[in-house]
Symmetry: C2
Subunit: 473 residues, 2 copies
């Protein structure tokens, strides 16, 4: 792969420029969830559009209209920035996606430094959004620019999609993608998303699966108002007691789902799949230390990966309507809404799981013979997504990692969701590769978010190498 | 009882004066829980002291020092007003207790009228604190004043204790009572508290029992921070799941306590006690309608009364640390504190119940084999209180009710607590009678609190007749 030697050298030589540019991006407080920062989000979108134009890309600013913020205000949605570089029909076309908005951050949350001032320390770069997702979206720009600077032809046509609403639910994006399937996305051969993380801190990975989600609201209603436990305790059926009994039927303390029939909905494990889990480089001891727990449900890595990636999990998130404050209160809450969700895996379909769970809860509730009223609500769920890790798009990613890092990547899945991956696949039928730049300890969404300098700079090389590998397919 | 004929006539003739005076008391917003109304509470205390002096009572203002309000501010405690009327060693001495502070109230809570303007409608008097406890404390004043006005000797010595902190935990009162046991309270023969309600709306009652309380905080702690259910769901032991399982072991949906050994701690039911429950005038249908529930756990009155009064109950109040807001959040809470309480009955001792429950929860938790940490905290509990309904003090109350209402009172207990009753009894060894004036539907602590005009006026007669009956013992 000697043809990228100068390319890599150029990138190494421009490290300070890339970090300076990242610092500029970090200083823009593009928090999509914060109504007071609407203009900062828009400013960051304009910056990305300007970068795209600088590398010769045509740009289109897509206005998605308005939405209702959780605070009740009607606000304009941040623009989605489309970029198109090249339209050579002899080349492959890659569509890359990233987001320019970030999670909220205040120094008072516990940051060691100002989250909106890029801070270098011990070869790490700290700041809100540095890893999620500003270094990756800039890396796409620099990867292209480096081709141009060293006099190499950009090996593929590229379509860029940068959105500013990812941290707030990507409102309107799915509709846009579906509308553009036969337009802007018509001739895309491969998708690549760089918006997740290595499994650990040592080894790059390619991510080929994500879990889906169904969320349940279980409301139990008794008397017309909250009651005094002294006056009414012992004679009324308490909604909290009913809810606790229902929820105790869902899952065991060690994570076994108790909903009858749910295990039949999970795709059988294949030998080939199992082999992938066995190869993953991972330390459960490091994992436990990082979150300060003494024991995991699984104590061997293969079972551990499968529990996060290929089996459903159920988490009880909380109860609305009960007493949740400090101190003591002797109330019998009259209406409580318990909330839990199930992470879905192939071949679970949200609608079927919703019906299975609802029916089970209704049967169990009937068994309680409570006069209270049960109401179950489950909004539209999200499908799980699994790609083919042997697909040429993944092979291109694998060879790019070998070039830059000199190792075979891990093939991983993730327990959470990146709904846009499934949306691209469903809308176009094309393969989607998740190609992360940052490490598992980057602390996206948390305080002291960072990216290692080496991950940022090697990430630029990696994305460039990936584009070249795709061009050879 | 012809000697009270003129006395009762005088009271009837002065109805408008009594209502005007009650209106003045209601206009003072003596909300002890509201820091912005400290001066109103003090003003109401001064008013009661002035009333006591008007009827010839000596008064002592007891300053209880300072306390920390839940908002963190250090505030002066409202004064406790002592009054002493008469010291004739040939007479019996009765100590009466009441409180001049009230619960919070805002018209915006749903009141039909201004809560601090006494409003007459359909022979009812509406306003915050009208039944709890301003009509009763004024009724003590008017009962004494009427003796004086009609030229009768007040038949007993009276010691008054009016506090201004009852609705905010009576901070400092127990200590004061214990200190005064050999001083101000030394020669008290009988205690009488008018601060509760008839069981229903038709028949007066004497209340001879109250339940006690133990409150439990059950904290379960897992990882060092809240976790993302997508990333961690399926591999960590979730504190919420553990808590739900523990709480499901406490009580059935139909109110049966499941803690082993707890039923052995309840005093056996006697025939005599059972007879009292059978006599109580009560409609379960009215009760269910009033709180809009379709079914009670007990559908016959004797079982119903026993469940509220002579058997323990357990209520789960809520969970702190879990997601309790609107909408959805896919969090695995790292530390949750579940809260429940048990209403205690004779012969349950708080310390023993606390040990029984803690041991049970620890055993059940060990059975879960969870690596999470369990911490149980239970603050000092309150003993149940039961008096002897055949005691002369109760017979005096019974005869007074017969004189004023022409009926035999119900003998009731209550499911809640009035801790001062037990404090008086323990500090002095003297009998305590609960002699309510208002009806069960007065709505104390709720919106549109009221007292029926007849209950207020007959209440003055009742307290006066009680004092006379005590003098004959």
């Amino acid at each position: 792969m000697s043809d990228l030697k100068n390319y890599f050298k150029y990138i190494d030589e421009n490290k300070e420029f890339y970090i300076d540019e990242l610092a500029k991006a970090i200083s823009i407080k593009s928090v999509s969830g914060d109504v007071s920062r609407v203009s900062e989000v828009e400013k960051m979108g304009e910056k990305m559009e300007s970068h795209l134009r600088d590398i010769g890309s045509k740009t289109i600013i897509r206005n998605l209209g308005q939405y209702t913020h959780p605070n009740g205000k009607t606000l304009g949605l941040p623009s989605v920035i489309f970029g198109q570089l090249g339209s050579d029909s002899s080349k492959k076309t890659v569509c890359v996606y990233g987001h320019y908005d970030v999670q909220p951050a205040e120094e008072s949350d516990g940051w060691d430094t100002d989250p909106f001032v890029l801070t270098r320390k011990d070869s790490k770069l700290y700041g809100r959004g540095v890893s999620d997702d500003k270094a990756p979206i800039l890396a796409w720009i620099w990867a292209v620019q480096a081709y141009q600077k060293v006099g190499l032809e950009v090996p593929v046509n590229i379509k860029f999609i940068f959105e500013g609403m990812e941290e707030s639910g990507s409102v309107g994006l799915d509709d846009l993608i579906n509308r553009e399937a036969d337009q802007f996305l018509k001739d895309v051969d491969y998708f690549c998303i760089s918006d997740n993380y290595w499994l650990g801190t040592r080894k790059p990975c390619l991510t080929y699966g994500l879990r889906g989600l169904v969320y349940f609201f279980v409301e139990i209603e008794g008397a017309h108002a909250d009651l005094h436990s002294g006056v009414f305790g012992g004679v009324v059926h308490e909604p909290m007691t009913d809810l606790i009994h229902l929820f105790s039927k869902l899952i065991t303390s060690d994570g076994k789902l108790l909903i009858p029939g749910i295990s039949n909905t999970v795709a059988p494990l294949t030998e080939k799949e199992l082999e992938l889990y066995k190869k993953v480089d991972f330390s459960i001891e490091d994992f436990k230390r990082s979150i300060k727990v003494g024991k995991c449900i699984q104590e061997n890595p293969v079972d551990f990966h499968m529990a996060r990636w290929r089996y459903p999990s159920l988490s009880i998130h909380g109860i609305q309507g009960a007493f949740s404050g400090e101190g003591s209160k002797t109330v019998i809450p009259c209406k409580v809404t318990g909330k839990f969700s199930i992470r879905l895996v192939p071949n679970q379909e949200p609608e079927k799981i919703q019906a299975l769970v609802s029916d089970f809860l209704k049967t169990e509730f009937a068994g309680l013979q409570s006069p209270n009223k049960l109401h179950i609500y489950s909004p539209e769920g999200g499908m799980p997504w699994v790609s083919d890790p042997d697909h040429p798009n993944y092979m291109a990613g694998k060879r790019a990692i070998q070039q830059v890092y000199g190792v075979e990547p891990d093939f991983t899945r993730e327990g959470g969701s990146i709904p846009v991956a499934l949306t691209f696949e469903k809308a176009t039928g094309r393969n989607v590769l998740l190609l992360p730049l940052g490490r598992g300890d980057d602390g996206a969404h948390s305080v002291n978010e960072k990216i290692d300098e080496s991950n940022y700079i090697n990430g630029i090389k990696l994305l460039g190498a990936y584009l070249q590998e795709v061009s050879k397919l």
